[in-house]
Amino acid sequence: MFQIRIHGRGGQGVVTATEMLSVAAFEEGRHAQAFPSFGSERTGAPVVAFCRIDDKEIRLREPIMEPDALIIQDPTLLHQIDVFAGLKPDGYVLLNTHHTFETIGLGDFVKERDHKRLCTLPATQLGLKHVGRPIPNVPLIAGFAALSDMIQLESVIKAINEKFSGKVAEGNIAAATEAYALVKEQMKEHSHA
C-alpha cells in the first residue's frame, strides 16, 4: 500500500487533489481511498488530506501518520506545522515553490535524503499560466505522477476530465502536462548528478 499525504491551505484544492489522485489510480484498475482531515476549516487555514493506493481492497481507516509521499501545496506551512511528521526515510517529497529546497531553508533536511525522491515545482505559477487561477493542486498531482511513477500522466488527465470540462479541463491538462515534463526533467538532472 502506498500512502500520500497532502498539506495545503483551505481554498487550494487540497481535498480535490487527493480525490483526483484516487480517481487516477482507480482508472488504472487499482484500489484507492481519498479522505480529508475532516474539519470545519476556513479558507487559508491549514488543511491535510490523504490518499491510499493499493492493488487490493483498502480497509484501513486510520489517518496517514507514516506517509510514503508528501505533497506540500504551500511552503509557508513549513514554519507552522510539522509537515514532515512520520515521513518514511525513503519517502517522496514534492514541494510547491519556484525556489529550491536549499534557498527556502530545507538544505539540511534534503541532505539526508535520496535526491531522486525530492522535487520542487512552481505549481502556483503553472496554475496561473494555464488556468488563470493560483490553484496548485493539479500541477502537483501531475508532478507527483512524474516523481513517483505511481500513476501515469494519462490517468491524471482522465481524472481531470472527470472533474472538469471545457476550457477549465483544457487548461488543467496543459498545466498537468507541463508539470509532468518539468519534474521528469529535474529527475533526469538528479540522476545525472
Binding site: 499525504r5 487527493t18 480525490e19 484516487s22 480517481v23 489510480a25 482507480f26 482508472e27 484500489h31 484507492a32 481511498q33 481519498a34 479522505f35 480529508p36 482531515s37 475532516f38 474539519g39 470545519s40 487555514a45 491549514p46 491535510v48 490523504f50 483498502i58 480497509r59 484501513l60 481507516r61 486510520e62 489517518p63 496517514i64 501518520m65 506551512l77 507552522q80 506545522i81 511528521a85
Partner: protein, 417 residues
C-alpha cells in the same frame, strides 16, 4: 457501474435509484453532501417525480417526511448528531405511527462540547425509538444497505436509519459499484402503504391511545423488529442474487472459526480491525472479528452463537453510556449472559479521535491476556484528565471543562491525527 466516488455522492445515487418521492433536506455536517446531490438531481429533472423540500429544521424534516409517508409517498431524509437530537420527538413519532421512512445518519458526536467528527453517540441515543438501525462498514455497503432499507422498511411499515460513519465514509472517495436502475427496480417494488391518507377511504391516523391498548401497540413495534431479524438475512440473500454481492445481513464474521478472542465492532472501524487481525494472525494469534450490521433489531442469538466457541470478547465501540460504560457492549453482554465468557469494553474514537492500528494491536494483545479493565478508554490522555480533576479539587471556580482541557493540551490548529 464501478466508479471512484465520494461516499455521500454514492449514497445519493443509490437513493435516487430507489425512486424516492419526497426528500426533506436540512443542512448539517457530515450528511449535507447527500441531500445536496439529491437536490441537484431533482432540480435537473433527473430524479422525477420527486419533491425536494428545503425545511427550516430537522424537526420539520422528519415531520414533513411523516406527512408525506402517511400520504403514501416514499420518503427520505438524512441527518446527524445535533440534527438527529433536534428531531427526536418526530423520530419516535414516525416509528410509533409505523411509517416506513428511510433516513441516513452520518454518524457524528453529540455536544457539548460541540464537535463535528465521527462517533456513534447520535444514532445509538435513538436505539429505543423503534427505528431499525443498520451500520455500514464501507461506502459500498452504505449504498447497498439503503436499497435494502427501503425494501425492509416498506415491507414491515417501520422506519430505518442507515448509519454510516460521518466524514470517514461520507467524505471518503473510494471504489463503489453503483447498481443499475433495472437491478434496483427488480429488487424494490413500488411503495404499497399499509395505511394511507386518502379521501376515497378516510381513516384517522395518530389517535390518542390509553392504557387499555398502548402496550399492545408498543409490543407490535417490537414484534416488527423480531420479524426483521428473520427478514434481514433473507433480503440480503435476495440482494446477492440480483446484485451479485454480499451486503447487509445481521452480522458479519471474520476468522472467527478458531478464534479465542473475538473483537466486536460496528461501522468503518471494522476495516482497520481486520487489518490488525490479519497481522496478528500472521504472528499466530487466534483472534477474529464479529461485525454487527443490524444494531436494531439486535441479533442476540446470532451474536451468542458467534461468540460461544471463543474464550473472550472485546467490544470496541464509538459510544459511551455515561455512568455505565459501553452501549454496544451492554447489548453483547445480554447476548452471552450465562455463558461465562469473559468480556471487555473498549471506548474508542469519540468525537473523531483516530483509531490507529498501533493502538488496536496493543489493546487486542492486552485483551488476549485478559489484562484489561472491564471498561478501557483507548488513547485517553490521563494527564489531561487528572490535571482537570486536580484543578476541580483545588478551586471551586475551576471554569469550563472543555476550555481547560484544550488549554492544557495546547491544541494547535493543524493536527492530522
Amino acid at each position: 457501474m464501478l466508479k471512484q466516488t465520494e461516499g455521500s455522492k454514492a449514497v445519493a445515487e443509490a437513493i435516487a435509484l430507489c425512486r424516492p418521492e419526497v426528500i426533506c433536506a436540512y443542512p448539517i455536517s457530515p450528511q449535507t453532501h447527500i441531500v445536496e446531490a439529491l437536490g441537484e438531481m431533482v432540480k435537473a429533472g433527473e430524479l422525477t417525480p420527486c419533491e425536494f423540500i428545503n425545511v427550516e429544521s430537522e424537526f420539520a424534516a422528519m415531520s414533513v417526511a411523516i406527512g408525506s409517508s402517511a400520504a403514501g409517498a416514499r420518503s427520505y431524509t438524512a441527518t446527524a448528531s445535533q440534527g438527529l437530537l433536534f428531531m427526536v420527538e418526530a423520530v419516535y413519532n414516525a416509528a410509533g405511527l409505523g411509517l416506513p421512512i428511510v433516513m441516513t445518519v452520518a454518524n457524528r458526536a453529540i455536544g457539548a462540547p460541540i464537535n463535528i467528527w465521527n462517533d456513534h453517540s447520535d444514532s445509538l441515543s435513538q436505539r429505543d425509538s423503534g427505528w431499525m438501525q443498520l451500520f455500514a462498514e464501507t461506502n459500498q455497503e452504505a449504498v447497498d444497505l439503503h436499497i435494502q432499507a427501503f425494501r425492509l422498511a416498506e415491507e414491515l411499515s417501520m422506519p430505518i436509519m442507515v448509519c454510516m460513519d460521518g466524514f470517514i465514509l461520507t467524505h471518503a472517495f473510494e471504489r463503489v459499484d453503483i447498481p443499475s436502475q433495472e437491478q434496483v427496480d427488480a429488487y424494490l417494488p413500488p411503495f404499497e402503504p399499509r395505511q394511507v391518507l386518502d379521501p376515497a377511504e378516510p381513516i384517522s391516523i395518530g389517535a390518542m391511545v390509553g392504557p387499555e391498548a398502548f402496550m399492545e401497540v408498543k409490543y407490535l413495534a417490537h414484534a416488527k423488529q423480531m420479524q426483521a431479524l428473520e427478514r434481514i438475512p433473507q433480503l440480503a440473500d435476495e440482494f446477492k442474487q440480483i446484485f451479485g454481492r454480499d451486503s447487509g445481513g445481521l452480522i458479519r464474521t471474520y476468522h472467527i472459526e478458531d478464534a479465542e478472542t473475538v473483537v466486536i465492532a460496528m461501522g468503518s472501524v471494522l476495516g482497520t480491525i481486520k487489518d490488525v487481525v490479519d497481522e496478528m494472525r500472521a504472528e499466530g494469534h487466534k483472534i477474529g472479528v464479529l461485525g454487527i450490521i443490524s444494531f436494531r433489531p439486535f441479533p442476540l442469538e446470532l451474536v451468542r452463537a458467534a461468540l460461544i466457541k471463543s474464550r473472550r470478547f472485546i467490544v470496541l465501540e464509538k459510544s459511551l453510556a455515561v455512568g455505565m460504560g459501553g452501549i454496544v457492549a451492554t447489548n453483547v453482554r445480554m447476548a452471552v449472559s450465562g455463558t461465562g465468557l469473559k468480556g471487555f469494553t473498549a471506548i474508542a474514537g469519540l468525537g473523531g479521535r483516530a483509531i490507529p492500528k498501533s493502538s488496536l494491536h496493543k489493546l487486542f494483545r492486552q485483551a488476549e491476556k485478559e489484562e484489561l479493565e472491564p471498561v478501557t478508554f483507548v488513547d485517553l490522555d490521563w494527564d489531561a484528565v487528572n490535571k482537570q480533576l486536580e484543578r476541580e479539587k483545588q478551586t471551586r471556580r475551576s471554569g469550563p471543562i472543555a476550555e481547560n482541557i484544550l488549554h492544557d493540551k495546547g491544541i494547535v490548529s493543524a493536527k492530522f491525527g
